[in-house]
């Protein structure tokens, strides 16, 4: 059967098990969605547990699904659940032994990426004054329409004044603006991760960066948000202990 749009409505208890032949079906639970594709089962959780669907499950494009039986698909379903469990392990962290690898940093060099963006937009960051206060004034005077220039000046500020905590504050503020103004998750995440690398000894800024990363990943429906959520909880406890 070919379908586009709602497959199961919110509140409905699925009585039929459908397997996807082609196309994409989006499930949303607790405000986090994930897309299902070829070979996946639609609303498997609710079907097995005989529970109502939380939010509409929709085919986001023309999708072909077929009705299958639990008995025939039994072993395949176990395999699918094991695949889901692998996601759990990939997004889990050892709370006692957090290492930078746990932050899932992109392989691309962050500075190189920002340079590419800068050259594409033909915006010149220019030189930053040697005086710290003057440099801050230049950065903060830039409007939102020069956000990429601001990103580059913030980078220069961190290189020029590596010991200044203001660099961390600028990174958080600029990342938030990049996310809101440009809706560029990649640059925003890169800036926040840069903060984690450069200012890992300042928990209050790390906490803010991690909370923002959690929000961004959650918005894009990426389960990695759980990793940041856990790290944020640990930092929160540590910060409270420092009060």
């Amino acid at each position: 059967m070919k379908i586009e749009g709602v497959v199961f409505k919110a509140g409905e208890v699925p009585k039929t098990l459908f397997k996807i032949v082609s196309g994409t079906v989006r499930e949303t639970r607790n405000k986090t969605y994930h897309d299902l594709g070829h070979g996946d089962y639609v609303a498997l959780l609710e079907y097995l547990l005989e529970e109502p669907i939380q939010e509409n499950i929709v085919a986001t494009e023309e999708t072909e699904i077929i009705e299958v039986s639990l008995e025939d698909e039994y072993l395949n379903i176990i395999k699918r659940i094991i695949e889901l469990r692998k996601v759990i392990f990939e997004s889990s962290i050892d709370l006692e032994d957090i290492v930078l690898d746990d932050f899932n940093f992109e392989k691309v060099d962050i500075d190189k990426y920002l340079e590419q963006v800068e050259s594409l937009l033909t915006l010149s960051a220019g030189d930053l004054p040697d005086d710290r206060d003057e440099a801050l004034r230049v950065i903060e005077s830039l409007d939102d329409d020069k956000i990429i220039t601001k990103v580059n000046l913030v980078r220069s500020f961190i290189e020029k004044f590596p010991e200044e905590e203001e660099g961390a504050r600028l990174l958080i503020e600029t990342a938030a603006k990049v996310y809101i103004v440009l809706n560029d998750r990649y640059v925003a995440k890169s800036l926040l991760k840069k903060l984690l690398l450069h200012y890992s000894d300042i928990p209050k800024f790390c906490y803010e960066a991690i909370k923002t990363l959690e929000g961004i990943y959650r918005d894009e429906g990426n389960i990695i948000w759980r990793r940041y959520n856990k790290i944020a909880k640990i930092l929160e406890v540590k910060l409270r202990g420092n009060d």
Partner: protein
């Protein structure tokens, strides 16, 4: 297929090890650790674990006895022959899914 008795604190299956057997709790209490989460299953609501053995995967959870427990242990062909297409296998899949969904924050 056999019934095995375990003392408290004994590890029955361990995450990451090759899955060979499926276990059914007859009496006692078991702690199931999946990722960073822990569940306790008891004979009030008998459960099956070790379904990974049916598909040749490694165990994805660690199960340890909390108290003296009796478990039925069987290999994949025994399980499918005896319990396949019965309520036992359906319930086993349901609890396997439920634990997964809880850890994923779906329920």
């Amino acid at each position: 297929m056999e019934t095995i008795e375990f003392e408290p604190g004994q590890e029955i299956i361990k995450e990451g090890e090759e899955a060979q057997y499926i276990y059914m709790l007859k009496s006692g209490k078991i702690k199931v650790q999946l990722g960073l989460y822990e569940f306790v299953i008891s004979d009030n609501n008998p459960e099956v674990f070790g379904l990974e053995a049916l598909v040749g995967e490694k165990y994805t959870e660690t199960c340890t006895t909390v108290e003296n427990s009796k478990l039925i242990c069987c290999n994949s062909s025994e399980f499918m022959e005896i319990y396949g297409k019965t309520e036992v296998s359906k319930k086993a899949l349901e609890s396997f899914m439920r634990r997964t969904a809880k850890v994923l924050g779906w329920i």
